[in-house]
Symmetry: C2
Subunit: 231 residues, 2 copies
DNA sequence: GTCTATAAAGTGATAGAC
DNA sequence: GTCTATCACTTTATAGAC
């Protein structure tokens, strides 16, 4: 599990990459400053010099992933709604807007796909108190926009039910990202760890069905929802 | 958040109750032995004397909740299958067998309902390496039994898909139990924290729809699935 | 910017008196 | 069983030399 790029000559970048890898592997609470500096082959004091404190390093990593994630979510939702100003946007496409940003982000990271997933799962599972006020606000804005969009597609479902179902959806996503070990173990290796793309495909079908529960018109779900969206 | 019963005269019971409360509130990794002894009004050495070590205390708490939880899950599934040996068991009732044990357990604990939920959510979100071999085996047995039962109700869904959907289901449950703070915050207080019963009702509908995704016959879902089951 | 040295507080665990 | 005292170690952070 040593996939830090030591080619990064700047110590600050090395420290950041090392921190992200370790946070992904062991969680934010279980990583000591010394673990980071050791993996980054930097000095013990380097984290405090470059980032101020351990807490500020954590906050930086969280914001560095959460901000663009939420931004691209909103951008994708904008595209969807602009494309169909009057028509309702299919629920599958809304869910895609909610999760596909992961695929774009994994390409830009130094982390392996598996570690990137774990890191984002851990970030999305943080309690509200662990996040800065700005990040919490971002989460609320994103949630509000998506809740309104989903409310338009499923007008017969009470808003409170939708809020709960969104909560369940996030839980499924977090678990998918963070705990693939259990899936492999429980299925006796039958269900391996496929590419992120494939996992998200399964996820969309599950989540769409859950959100739509109780809505009579089930005809709007073609077998290949991805085909409706040009990535 | 101080709801430890100091009436428990036995120090060992006080320590256990204090540990459970703190683990629920802050997570297993963020609780020091000294936090536990302090809340239990016991000596610093008490945890090591009564439980051997911090790790053994954690393992005890985990096993104390996970073992009866899994056991009652299996018992309930037995009842369902014995009741309908030839007929298929509705998916809603299988999910009920999977989650209703929580309701019975919350009554037997000294913890408040909110803390009980958090504790069980944290336990269900532990990585496999953090669990003893026995507990892992229990989880596998339970999973296999339920996977077979669900496979019988949804024979047209490939087993691998069902395994993934079960994984999503567990994620939703963990999130529901552990992160209600986000739900309250994101809904601007609209979606409060109702009784466990109500939350599980919402959960069953969401999870059942997700598991059933793609199965044509959608007629078998009455509006009140709870009414089919006599608790 | 990078290093060593060290501070100051916290960690789990234990020996030994009572 | 319960307590105090303490060990051996780790933690984050910083002062000051280079």
């Amino acid at each position: 599990m040593r996939d830090i790029k030591l080619s990064e000559s700047q110590p600050k970048q090395r420290l950041l990459a090392a921190a992200e890898q370790l946070f992904a592997e062991k969680g934010f609470e279980s990583v000591a400053v010394r673990d980071v500096t050791q993996l980054a082959k930097a000095n013990v004091a380097a984290v405090n010099y470059h980032f101020g404190s351990r807490d500020r390093l954590v906050a930086l990593v969280v914001a560095r992933y959460l901000a663009p994630f939420n931004q691209e979510r909103l951008d994708r939702l904008d595209v969807l709604e602009r494309r169909a100003p009057s028509k309702v946007v299919p629920i599958e496409e809304i869910i895609h807007a909610l999760i596909r940003p992961l695929v774009g982000m994994v390409g830009k990271t130094e982390l392996s796909e598996a570690l990137f997933c774990k890191l984002l799962g851990r970030i999305l599972a943080l309690p509200e108190e662990a996040l800065s006020a700005e990040v919490v606000e971002q989460m609320k804005v994103s949630n509000n926009r998506f809740m309104r969009a989903i409310g338009k597609v499923l007008p017969t479902v009470p808003q409170e039910d939708l809020q709960w179902r969104m909560h369940f959806l996030v839980g499924s996503l977090v678990h998918l990202l963070t705990h693939q070990d259990w899936l492999r173990s429980l299925s006796n290796g039958t269900s391996g760890s496929p590419a992120l793309e494939v996992m998200l495909g399964r996820f969309v079908r599950f989540a769409a069905a859950g959100l739509r529960e109780g809505v009579e018109i089930e005809v709007s779900a073609p077998t290949g929802p991805q085909a409706l969206f040009d990535f």
